[in-house]
Symmetry: C2
Subunit: 121 residues, 2 copies
C-alpha cells in the first residue's frame, strides 16, 4: 500500500486566511490543525479541553488574565482547560494546533471570528 | 503569573540516548514526547491508539507489512491503531511523538528496547 506523509509547509501554502484553522491529520478523536494568526483574536476559553499551540514560523503571544507567554518558531504551549486566553501576533504567524475534533476556535465566546467547523486541507 | 513556553530544540539537547522517548508536555491525557531514532526499532503495534510521528530534524521511515512511508523534517504521519510498524533511521533523526499518556514505545512486542515509563525533561 502507498502511505503518504503530511508536509506542514506544503499544507500551509494551501490557504491564506487568518484565524481559520484547517485540519491536516487526525489521531484518535483529536485533530491536528494549521492556522495563520495576524493581529488580535478574541478572549475565550475551552471549558472541556486543554489546547496545544506550536509555532512553526514567526512569533506570537498568548495573553492570560494574569500574565502572558511569548512563543516563537519551534516553541509550544499548552493552554489549560478553562483558562481564558487571547492569542495575538503582530505579524503573520504560522501555528499548529492540537485539540479534540470539534473544538471551536472561539470556545465559549462566539462572535464574528467563529469557525464552527474546520475543513480538511 | 509567569508562563513558560516549551522550546523543542532546548529540550532535545537534554538527552542523547536513542529510542527512549522523553515527555515535554501534556494535553488532557496525551503526552508530547521527544525521541532520537538511529538504526532499526522493533516491529510492534499499539492495540488501543493511533500514534503521531513528526520529524523535527533528519529523516526516517516507518515500515509496514505492506509498504512504508518516508518522513523528513517538517513532515508527520499518523500510524493507525493496531497497525504493525517498524521505525528506521539510517542516521540520527529527531522526532516528536504524540500519543496517550502511558503508551509504551514497543507496544505489544516487549523486549530489550522497551521503556515502560517515559520521564519528563
Amino acid at each position: 500500500m502507498d502511505y503518504t506523509s503530511v508536509n506542514l509547509k506544503e499544507k500551509m501554502s494551501k490557504f491564506s486566511d487568518h484565524w481559520s484553522p484547517k485540519i491536516i491529520a487526525q489521531m484518535n478523536d483529536y485533530h491536528f490543525k494549521l492556522v495563520k494568526f495576524k493581529g488580535d483574536f478574541v478572549w475565550h476559553r475551552h471549558h472541556d479541553t486543554d489546547e496545544v499551540f506550536m509555532v512553526l514560523d514567526g512569533k506570537m503571544s498568548i495573553e492570560f488574565r494574569d500574565g502572558s507567554v511569548e512563543l516563537k518558531s519551534g516553541e509550544m504551549f499548552v493552554v489549560p482547560k478553562g483558562m481564558e486566553h487571547k492569542p495575538f501576533a503582530e505579524r503573520e504567524c504560522k501555528i499548529m494546533l492540537v485539540e479534540p475534533a470539534g473544538t471551536v476556535n472561539t470556545g465559549d465566546a462566539g462572535g464574528g471570528m467563529t469557525v464552527e467547523e474546520s475543513t480538511w486541507i
